[in-house]
């Protein structure tokens, strides 16, 4: 693993990304810096960050705090606490972008049911999205839909996948069949499938729909890729 000194003339870098539950226990964590060499020092850091941010309200907007020469940006939803840490001379907004990317990608992947249970049940997706966001401290991608798309790519081909993936497969197929369709017309097809999906699960269709929209939009750029997947 390579480490960066976060001086002003070097690359923006992330020191760690944490996803903790409402008691401060780990769901998924990833460290990219050797500031915390042992597991116990990592746990101590997580504990202090968790307790110091616990009382703040970071549910609507991401909040920010400083710990031991580090900037921590955090956001909470339900019983999940998201943290991104960087050096104290790092551009706060870049770290915020990373957090937002992770947060939104998880929301997309968990179809807006973002809570601890769902996160643990789909831990593979969360670990994969961490892998797609930052590589050894370097920011790979901050756009949530791209991250989610990359992570979800494989599940689309999964035969026993849950309903949403099947719907998404169908949608993708539609796109393959009518490659000439422009984006505006896609909307009609979405509404068609929206009706199709509704009987199965009324309250969740909206999130599925959102998910599919974002998914298809990305795929528009790389249709060849999709053809491979479906084929």
């Amino acid at each position: 693993m390579a480490y960066f000194s976060a001086s002003r003339d070097s690359c923006p870098s992330v020191k760690n990304i944490l996803l903790l539950d409402s008691e401060g226990k780990r769901i998924a964590v990833k460290y990219y810096s050797d500031d915390w060499p042992t597991n116990s020092s990592k746990l101590a850091f997580e504990k202090s960050v968790f307790t110091k941010t616990l009382k703040t309200n970071a549910r609507t907007e991401a909040e920010i705090a400083m710990f031991e020469n580090n900037i921590v940006i955090y956001k909470f939803v339900q019983d999940l606490h998201f943290f991104v840490t960087g050096g104290d001379d790092e551009n706060e907004l870049i770290l915020a972008a990373v957090l937002q990317g992770f947060f939104d990608a998880v929301a997309l992947l968990l179809r807006n049911n973002v809570d601890k249970r769902e996160a643990l049940e789909n831990l593979d997706l969360i670990l994969l999205s961490l892998d797609e966001i930052v590589d050894g401290g370097m920011i790979l991608e901050t756009d949530a839909s791209s991250i989610a798309a990359k992570v979800a790519a494989h599940t689309a081909a999964d035969s026993g996948a849950p309903l949403s993936e099947q719907v998404m497969n169908l949608l993708s197929l539609v796109y393959i069949i009518f490659p000439g369709l422009i984006i505006k017309k896609m909307h009609k097809i979405f509404s068609f499938f929206f009706i199709l999906v509704q009987p199965f699960s009324v309250d969740r269709s909206v999130s599925n729909f959102q998910f599919c929209v974002s998914f298809i939009f990305i795929r528009l750029n790389s249709s060849i890729n999709l053809a491979c997947l479906i084929g």
Binding site: M1, A2, Y3, R8, D9, S10, C11, P12, R26, A28, V29, N39, K42, L43, T56, N57, E61, A62, E63, I64, A65, I73, N91, E92, L93, I94, A96, A97, N113, D115, R117, L120, E121, N122, L123, D124, L127, L128, D131, D135, G136, M138, I139, L140, E141, T142, K150, A153, H154, T155, A157, D158, G160, A161, P162, E165, S222, N225, C228, L229
Partner: protein, 887 residues
Amino acid sequence: MAQPLVKKDDDHDDEAEYSPFLGIEKGAILQEARVFNDPQLDPRRCSQVITKLLYLLNQGETFTKIEATEVFFSVTKLFQSRDLGLRRMVYLMIKELSPSADEVIIVTSSLMKDMNSKTDMYRANSIRVLCRIIDGTLLTQIERYLKQAIVDKNPVVASAALVSGIHLLQTNPEIVKRWSNEVQEAVQSRAALVQFHALALLHQIRQNDRLAVSKLVTSLTRGTVRSPLAQCLLIRYTSQVICESAGNTQTGDRPFYDYLESCLRHKAEMVILEAARAITELNGVTSRELTPAVTVLQLFLTSSKPVLRFAAIRTLNKVAMTHPMSVTNCNIDMEGLISDQNRSIATLAITTLLKTGNESSVDRLMKQITNFMSDIADEFKIVVVEAIRSLCLKFPLKYRALMNFLSNILREEGGFEYKKAIVDSIVILIRDIPDAKESGLLHLCEFIEDCEFTYLSTQILHFLSIEGPKTSDPCKYIRYIYNRVHLENATVRASAVTTLAKFGALVESLKPRIIVLLKRCLFDSDDEVRDRATLYLSTLGADDAVVETGEDANEFLFGSLDVPLVNLVTSLKNYVPSDEPFDISSVPREVKVQPLAEKKATSKKSTGLGAPPTGPTATVDTYERLLSSIPEFSSFGKLFKSSAPVELTEAETEYAVNVVKHIFYQHVVFQYNCTNTISEQLLENVTVIVDASEAEEFAEVVSKPLGSLPYDSPGQTFLAFEKPEGVPAVGKFSNVLRFLVKEVDPSTGESEDDGVEDEYQLEDLEVVAADYMQKVGVSNFRNAWENMNPDSEKVDEYGLGPRESLAEAVNAVINLLGMQPCEGTEVVPSNSRSHTCLLSGVFIGNVKVLVRLSFGINGQKDVAMKLAVRSDDESISDAIHEIVASG
């Protein structure tokens, strides 16, 4: 989908504690991992098991070497499966296991196959995995593919290769540097993030080539940069280029400033922030350049996003340190932030306001802060206290309000560090603002009435003993001090006794009453307290005994300890108990130059109640012992100072020689440390022939040659000169090393009998005025300065001509005088236009010298200096001026 264990229902609230990993155990999962070896792979099940393994690793579980190897080998079997999801998990698992070199070979071929796969996802991920685990030799094998990948059509693949390149650059720079053509091409990519990664890699490849970086920046600032991240990166590189080229452009506009300013209008906030920060951090930024940056930051202050507010206030806080006037426009917005939900933002807002506020707003501000102090953490409170201290020094007239504030918060709850910061602040205010002295001392007295920290109590008592007797009504402090004797622990009681004694000795009218109080302390339960009381009673002359010792008593009680503590400790350790009493004047006074890190630490501390600077003195001791072992030098008296070794030869020559100058009252001894670096030679009868024709006042008296100098074992030869008594004679000496060379057979180590006379030219040696100056620090410069006879003060002004920077000029003068900088004043803040430096030292003949240097620099970098000297001897003050005038 890895965990379809429970169909999703709406009833999860019933079992909130449910976790799919409940009761998971390493041993069981390792057993489960056997499914990887099944001939008929079940991708879904394998994915689940990998997720569980990753979960364990993530929770901090570690695998033993054997377990890890086993898991690794079975995971490699999974490359057989064509399931995409499973393959992703396999990649992840390999990265987490970080296999050893011999294991890597097993997966290389599989990964290399994936690198050439048609599936982009395979290519991108296999590149990242392979580069993570690979070593140099394997890297050359796959280099070709990586180069291709960098210019791949698919942005994900290109990014993966570029980011891997950035990591590999740390371990295999020479290989990655060969890719710069491809990276250059990738910089032009249309994909936003590819450009970002390519730019980062290209810069790292070329970072040591200033010209190339400058070219890169020039071309990109004119072209298009697509992603905000890449734009941020470019801003960083640009400010680096500006910083490096700053020295060259004396006049007119800064290069690239227009670019930075245009970035302030970018649509992405992160770019705006980066540009604003870059502008504020420019070297010697003018207020005209600052204005646009401060304006955008002001807009951020009212943003709904805490992160944005934080970033803006943090930047403004830094600006306020150097350019408070530029930030005053934002004062109203910042006052709004004092009540911010986020305490970090509120603290930064307050400290910024304290820096930018004017005298009239102080009272209002203090009111707001008082409400706010109760609900922030100690570490923030310390920041506020420090800001208030500097504010008070800025507006001395407002000391009343600020002192009240400090005493109020001193009464409230708080940890040691916080209380110490407050006490330190009050002490500094008392020192620097004479009007604040009486009220400040009373606040401190009240504080020790109820102080749980022994350290602070003793420090305050000590401080009281210095300042208290000088006040108009010293007797009002006695009550507080004597209360300590009744109420506190032994340590505090002992220091209270000392404080009482000092009051008694300095204030004649209090003396009889103090003696009564001290007598009561004779029955204390602690022996240290009793001892001190007894000692002070006798020095104060309680038993109508001799008062003739008054002078000595005063000296004993109030003469500051003018030897460094560490030196005293080493001397006491070396002191062999005998009939001869220990003589404190034998303790070396020289303060040795400390290692950089230590110096930093002390210079930080020295502002508060700090102790005098201390340092290791091993070398002084060894020199002294060495010299006293040579009978010829025994008549020279006590060693005054030994210089640092001066190299007389270039590094890596045949003979390495350096010299140490030992200064005595009437003599100078040169100690030549010689090293023979030729294994085939033995040198005998080594002497240094010195031509002292350019040093008229010196006369050679003794020369002590070195008998033999074998290979690689250093030896010394000495040369002593007589010089006029106590006079700082200077001069230049040219040296020649003369010796007898004998050939040595390196295999046997035996030397031939016949030798050849030979000479070796050494560099010249100078004895300068600084050699006659001991670096002796004082703990409180102001006190020491005031205690010196003002008549001895000599002031003059000097022009130092154009200098690189103020810091350089300050250092040059310090080195010229060879004196000890006090209170950390040798550090010049960057960008400052003027600086005051305090120096102290002891000149030959044991004359104390204090120097106050005031520097100023103008736009043309011309430095002017005002030099004020006080010393025990007026003629020495003149001598110091002479040194500077001739130096």
